[in-house]
C-alpha cells in the first residue's frame, strides 16, 4: 500500500517534470500569483478568466495549469491582505486581522515569510494526506451506485449551502437556484429543451465560464465600483526582511501545525467553504492562546494558523473532487467543470483510467509550491508595486479580459451577453445578502444530481425508501438530516435571542 503510493508518486513526478507540463504548471502559478495580488481579483476570477485557454490544451497540462493558478492566487491574496489590509479573496479576510497590524509595526516582511513557510508546510501535509487517502477512498467509492452518489451529492450541496458565511437558508436558496441554472438546456434523457425560452444558444447549457465570470467578476465590479479605494502601500520590502528569526519560527510552529490539521479536517468534509475554515483556525488559535489580547494587534499566530489551514484545505479538497467527482467548494466546481469539458469524468475510475492526470497533478502540487517559494522571494518587490495598481484602471482592464475570454470559448457574443445577465443577477443577490458561491456548486452538480436521482428511482421502481435501505446512502442521508436539524436549532435560538434583545431595548424610532 505504502510502497504502491510511493511508486505512483514517482510516476507522477515523471509526468509533472516533463518540460511541457512543467512549463504550463509554472505559467499557471505565475499568472495565479499575479492575479491574486491584484486588488479585488481572487482565485475564482483568476481561474474562470483563464479557463477558455485550457479548452484547446491537452488535459494533463490544462489541469496542472488550473491547479497552479488556484494555489498561486492564494499566495498572492495573502500578500494583499498582509500589506494592504485588502482581502482580495474572502478566506484571507482573517489574515488581515493580524497581518496588517504587523505591517504597520514594520514586520510585514516577517508576516509574509511566515505565511510562505506555513503555506508550504500545510500544502506538503495536505498532499501527503491526498497521496494516501485517495486510493482508500476509491476502494469505497467503487461500491457506490446511483443512490449513494445522489445521497453524497445531496450532503455536499447541503454542506456547501449551510456551512459558508451568512444565512444557511439563503445558501440553500442559492444552491437551488444553481441547480435550476444547471437544468437549462437539452435534457439528456428525453431530448426536451428546458428553460431555453426559444434561445437556441441555451440548448447547450449555460456556459460555465460565462456564469462564473458574471457572478465572480462583473457582479463584484458592480458592487465595488467607486466603493473600493486602495490606499497605496508604502511598505518597502526586500527578501532579507522576509526571513523570520528563530524565535519567531518557534512561536509560529505550533499554530502552523494546528492550522494545518483544521484545514485537513475541513477539506475532507465536502461542502465546507474555505472562508469558514480560516475563521475557525483563527478562532481556535485565539481561544487556546495564553495571551488572547494580542490577537488583532499583530500576533504572529493569527497569521500562521489561518494561512496554513487554507493551504492544507486546498490540497485535501482535491480528494473528493477527483476521486468522487464531488467538488468541495466553488473553486473545485470550476476545476471539475474544466475536467468535464476535457471529456474526463471524475470519479473512482479516474485514478485508474487517467493515472497520468491524477498522479501528475499530485506531483505538480509539490513542484508548484516549490516554484512559488522560489519565485516569491525575489519577486516580492514587484508584487508590492502591483498592489498599487488603482482600482479605476484595474476593473476596466479586467472587464476586457472577461469579455474577450468568454467570447473565445465558443466564438459567440451570446456568451458575453450571458456574462452581463449573470453579473446583474449576482449583484442583486449580493445586495440582498445572498451568498453566490453555492450557485456555481449547484450548476456544476445539477445534471449529475438529477441523473443519479432518476437512475436510482428507476432501479428501485419509484420507491423513495431506496435512499434509506442502502447502508452507505443511509449514512449520508442521516448526516444531511443532522446538518439540517442542527442548523434549525441554531437558527431558532439566534432568532429568539434577537427578538428578546429587541424587546428588552427601548423602542427607537
Amino acid at each position: 500500500m505504502f510502497q504502491e503510493s510511493l511508486a505512483n508518486l514517482w510516476f507522477g513526478f515523471g509526468i509533472a517534470l516533463q518540460p511541457h507540463n512543467l512549463w504550463w504548471s509554472f505559467v499557471g502559478v505565475l499568472i495565479g500569483n499575479l492575479i491574486g495580488v491584484l486588488p479585488g481579483l481572487g482565485a475564482l476570477t483568476a481561474i474562470s478568466m483563464l479557463l477558455p485557454i485550457t479548452y484547446t490544451m491537452h488535459p494533463v497540462p490544462a489541469i496542472l495549469m488550473l491547479a497552479g493558478i488556484f494555489y498561486g492566487s492564494q499566495y498572492g491574496g495573502a500578500i494583499g491582505a498582509i500589506l494592504l489590509n485588502l482581502p482580495s479573496h474572502p478566506p484571507h479576510a482573517v489574515t488581515c486581522l493580524d497581518g496588517y497590524p504587523m505591517t504597520k509595526a514594520g514586520k510585514g516582511g516577517t508576516a509574509l515569510g511566515i505565511t510562505m513557510i506555513a503555506s508550504f508546510f500545510a500544502a506538503s501535509f495536505g498532499i501527503t494526506v491526498m497521496l494516501f487517502a485517495s486510493p482508500l477512498l476509491v476502494a469505497v467509492a467503487f461500491k457506490f451506485g446511483p443512490a449513494e452518489l445522489f445521497s453524497i451529492m445531496l450532503l455536499g450541496l447541503l454542506a456547501g449551502a449551510t456551512m459558508s458565511r451568512g444565512s444557511p437558508l439563503k445558501g440553500v436558496a442559492m444552491t437551488l437556484f444553481g441547480l435550476l441554472v444547471g437544468a437549462v438546456g437539452t435534457d439528456v434523457n428525453s431530448g426536451v429543451m428546458r428553460f431555453t425560452f426559444g434561445l437556441i444558444e441555451l440548448s447547450d447549457r449555460v456556459e460555465l465560464v460565462a456564469l462564473a465570470l458574471g457572478l465572480f467578476g462583473v457582479a463584484d465590479f458592480l458592487m465595488s465600483v467607486n466603493r473600493l479605494r486602495t490606499v497605496g502601500s508604502t511598505a518597502k520590502l526586500s527578501y532579507r526582511d522576509m526571513r523570520p528569526s528563530k524565535a519567531e519560527l518557534k512561536q509560529a510552529f505550533w499554530p502552523m501545525v494546528r492550522g494545518t490539521l483544521v484545514g485537513t479536517l475541513f477539506g475532507a468534509m465536502p461542502g465546507t467553504g474555505p472562508t469558514i475554515t480560516t475563521f475557525i483556525a483563527y478562532a481556535f488559535e485565539r481561544r487556546i492562546s495564553r495571551t488572547p489580547e494580542r490577537f488583532g494587534h499583530g500576533a504572529l499566530e493569527g497569521v500562521a494558523a489561518p494561512e496554513a489551514a487554507s493551504h492544507s484545505k486546498t490540497q485535501v479538497d482535491f480528494i473528493p473532487t477527483m476521486s468522487l467527482g464531488i467538488p468541495g467548494d466553488a473553486v473545485m466546481a470550476l476545476i471539475l467543470g474544466a475536467l468535464l469539458i476535457q471529456g474526463i469524468q471524475p470519479g473512482p475510475q479516474l485514478i485508474t483510467e487517467h493515472a497520468d492526470i491524477f498522479w501528475g497533478l499530485i506531483a505538480s502540487f509539490w513542484i508548484g509550491n516549490v516554484l512559488l517559494m522560489i519565485m516569491n522571494v525575489p519577486m516580492i518587490g514587484i508584487w508590492v508595486k502591483m498592489l498599487q495598481v488603482p482600482y479605476r484602471f484595474l476593473y476596466p482592464s479586467a472587464m476586457f479580459f472577461i469579455a474577450v475570454g468568454v467570447y473565445s470559448t465558443n466564438s459567440s457574443l451570446f456568451d458575453v451577453a450571458e456574462v452581463l445577465a449573470f453579473g446583474l443577477i449576482g449583484a442583486v443577490f449580493i445586495a440582498l445578502d445572498f451568498p453566490i458561491a453555492p450557485i456555481l456548486l449547484g450548476y456544476v452538480l445539477g445534471p449529475m444530481v438529477e441523473e443519479n436521482f432518476r437512475r436510482a428511482l428507476l432501479i428501485a421502481r419509484g420507491d423513495m425508501m431506496v435512499f434509506l435501505q442502502r447502508p452507505i446512502s443511509a449514512v449520508f442521508i442521516g448526516l444531511c438530516a443532522l446538518l439540517v436539524l442542527g442548523q434549525l436549532l441554531f437558527g431558532l435560538r439566534d432568532a429568539l435571542r434577537k427578538r428578546e434583545a429587541a424587546a428588552a431595548s427601548p423602542a427607537r424610532t
Binding site: 485557454i53 444565512s167 437558508l169 439563503k170 436558496a173 437551488l176 437556484f177 441547480l179 435550476l180 435534457d187 434523457n189 428525453s190 426536451v192 428546458r194 428553460f195 462583473v218 465590479f221 458592480l222 465600483v225 467607486n226 466603493r227 482600482y391 479605476r392 484602471f393 476593473y395 476596466p396 482592464s397 472587464m399 476586457f400 469579455a403 474577450v404 467570447y407 473565445s408 466564438s411 457574443l413 458575453v416 451577453a417 452581463l420 453579473g423 446583474l424 445586495a431 440582498l432 445578502d433 445572498f434 436521482f453 432518476r454 428511482l457 428507476l458 419509484g462 420507491d463 437558527g491 432568532a495 434577537k498 427578538r499 429587541a502 424587546a503 431595548s505 423602542a507 427607537r508 424610532t509
Partner: protein, 159 residues
C-alpha cells in the same frame, strides 16, 4: 422618518424571500410545460418542478424569519450603501456596447467601447485617463489575442 422609499425601507429579507418565491413559481410554471412522469419514470419536468417548489418554500421561510427577526421597534442595524448609478450604468453599458459593436463593427471598436465606457464609471477617471487606458488595452488586444492567440474575431467588420 417621514418619507421613505417604500422599496428600500422594506427589510432585505422580505425582498429576498419574495424574489426566491418568484423564481420558484416561475420554474414551476415553465416546468409544468414539460412532461412530469412518475417517480418510477421521471419526465424532464419532474426535477425542475421539484426544485421550483423547494425554492418557493425556502423563499417563504426566509421572509417569515425576516419578519421574526425584524421585531417592531427594532431599528435595522444594517447600513445600506448609497446607490452608485454612474458606475452601474457604465459597467452594464460597456458590456452591451461590446456585444453590439462586436456584432456590427468587429473586435477593435468593441474593445475600445468596452474599456472606455467602463473606465468612465469610476469617478476618479477623466476622459483623458480613460482614453489612455483604452489605447493600452487595444494594443494588448490586437497583439495578444488577435495576433498571438489567433482569436476567431475579425478586427473590423461591416454590418
Amino acid at each position: 422618518m417621514s418619507v421613505r422609499n417604500p422599496l428600500t425601507s422594506l427589510p432585505k429579507d422580505y425582498l429576498g424571500g419574495a424574489l426566491m418565491v418568484l423564481i420558484g413559481v416561475g420554474a414551476i410554471v415553465e416546468g409544468t410545460r414539460y412532461s412530469f412522469g412518475s417517480l418510477h419514470r421521471m419526465g424532464p419536468g419532474f426535477f425542475p418542478v421539484a426544485l421550483g417548489t423547494l425554492l418557493a418554500l425556502v423563499g417563504v421561510v426566509i421572509g417569515v424569519i425576516g419578519w421574526l427577526e425584524h421585531a417592531p421597534g427594532a431599528a435595522s442595524e444594517r447600513k445600506t450603501l448609497p446607490p452608485e448609478w454612474r458606475g452601474w450604468a457604465c459597467i452594464v453599458g460597456s458590456l452591451i456596447a461590446f456585444v453590439v459593436l462586436g456584432h456590427y463593427g468587429g473586435l477593435v471598436p468593441a474593445t475600445a467601447a468596452l474599456v472606455f465606457i467602463s473606465a468612465l464609471g469610476d469617478r476618479q477617471n477623466s476622459v483623458k485617463s480613460s482614453l489612455l487606458l483604452t489605447a493600452v488595452m487595444l494594443v494588448i488586444c490586437v497583439v495578444v489575442f488577435w495576433w498571438a492567440l489567433q482569436m476567431n474575431f475579425p478586427l473590423f467588420r461591416w454590418g
